[in-house]
Amino acid sequence: MITFSEIAAQGYTKRKFKNRLMCLLFFVAALVALTPLFSIMGYVFIKGVGSINWSFLTQLPAPVGESGGGMANALVGTCVLIVLASIIGMTSGLATGIYLSEYGRGKLATIIRFSADMLSSVPSIVIGLFVYILIVRPMQSFSALAGGVALGVIMIPTIARSAEELLKLVPASVREAGLALGLPRWKVTIWIVLKGSLSGIITGVMLAIARVAGETAPLLFTALGNRFWSWNLTQPIGSLPVQIFTYSISPFEEWHRQAWAGALVLVLLVFSINLGARFVFRPQISRD
């Protein structure tokens, strides 16, 4: 006679072994996948950390041939471009997200949603080209504005879709509660639904910023680059990625070192935006 415990024990050791083995395999696979990330990080850190100092962060590039100088203009330029891009990406991205989640029904919404998905898969260099034709050519000058528009357009689909998803997480019953208080729908949308998912939406925006902060290709023929301070949005402006690119293909040893330092600064910038995004996102916790 076979007892229940015998049945239960049948093949148990084998199953347990298989379980362990698979677990180990997945762990190794994850390790392999993460190795490049860590080696890149480590390499950038080792190469860059030696050249980061106060003057690197606060000074303009030194004239060709001289040593010293920094990338302050590029750092500030990247920030200016990010602000411009965020203004464009946020306004139209949020508006699109709100439309899709709150009002979008039927064919038009499907088309918009589909276009947003298409737009997010358009290579960034193509968007740069588009902005070049649309803004740089008519204005007959590379400009910070053009760079900001290019990055902003890249941000739109990311922000739109993440906002849509987050707004849809707000239950329909919450909207009804707002309507039942005698509030017009637009007020319910902005002050209850949007406000209620603000932390998530800010996270989405920050992730979009982190994504475009390192974009290089679309800047090459929009913002171009600038070795000096530039406070005029209709003039070319420097940026970290472009400056890193220019420096690293140059023949000068000193510039190579600075390119690594710039790369480290850029990576740290993007990392801290990412971290900040995670910090902001605490669903359902009020902040008064």
């Binding site: 019953s173 039942a180 007020k187 002050w191 209850i192 359902q284």
Partner: protein
């Protein structure tokens, strides 16, 4: 007491697309009374009360037809703005639905704030009064700034009642407000309903027949979208006129 009916429903019909959910319902509700709507699941109770504040029409493809007088205004009359109507006729839903990421205070004050009332003192006064009416003040007065979501289910439902009361409606619609709550929380809400009738007229949907018997003055029995019987609660539960009502309240179906 003014015995003119405060709500008069005349031949109200409601549809979801082609499905006829409320059929030719007429009834009258006296001020400061509690009216219970009972009937088996799917008979159109929710649909019916959602027509009374014109929330039904917010559902895609849904429409309503008929007359609903609030005082002497037909809320389905031409040129009537549903937004204004909903300020006069509040609603509490089956599941507590507090506003996300808003504090206890902001939840209750939302209707006033978004209607443009800014004065801190006035807001504070109204919030306190509403929370007292909802029998929640003592439990939350020390944590008005904490997230609404941090309250228990029963407290949340009372928070939603306070939120609806804050805009001072004259009628309060309640759609099975205690069906998601335990008996103790249910008892609290039943007590507050009985007290609230001094402030507002209440129309409440309930699945719980004892509840209807305990708290309501009049009861309406709906079946398949039709109003089968409407009368004094004491009579409906003891000497119903209609066979179907009797079958329902004695548990023969539903």
């Amino acid at each position: 007491m003014d015995m003119q009916p405060i709500v008069r429903v005349r031949k109200l019909n409601a549809w979801f697309g082609a499905a006829h959910a409320v059929k030719n319902v007429s009834l009258e509700v006296e001020p400061h009374s509690v009216t219970a709507i009972i009937g088996p699941s799917g008979c159109g109770k929710s649909t019916f009360i959602r027509c009374l504040n014109r929330l039904h029409e917010e559902v895609p493809d849904a429409r309503a037809h008929g007359e609903v007088f609030l005082g002497d205004t037909n809320i389905y009359g031409e040129g009537i703005d549903p937004v204004v109507i909903r300020r006069k006729i509040g609603m509490v839903f089956q599941k507590p639905n507090p506003f996300p990421a808003a504090s206890v205070f902001d939840n209750v004050a939302a209707g006033l704030k978004l209607a443009g009332i800014r004065k801190k003192a006035l807001l504070m006064e109204r919030v306190e009064r509403s929370l007292r009416h909802a029998a929640l003040w003592d439990e939350v007065k020390a944590k008005l700034g904490s997230p609404g979501m941090s309250l228990s289910g029963g407290q949340l439902q009372r928070l939603c009642i306070a939120r609806a009361l804050a805009v001072e409606p004259s009628v309060l619609l309640m759609d099975e407000p205690t069906s998601a709550l335990d008996p103790i929380a249910t008892k609290k809400i039943e007590e507050l309903i009985v007290n609230l009738r001094k402030e507002v007229t209440i129309i409440i949907v309930t699945h719980n027949m004892q509840q209807a018997a305990r708290i309501s003055d009049r009861t309406a029995f709906l079946l398949l979208g039709e109003l089968i019987e409407f009368g004094a609660t004491s009579e409906i539960f003891t000497v119903p006129k209609e066979k179907q009502t009797e079958a329902y309240i004695t548990g023969k179906f539903g």
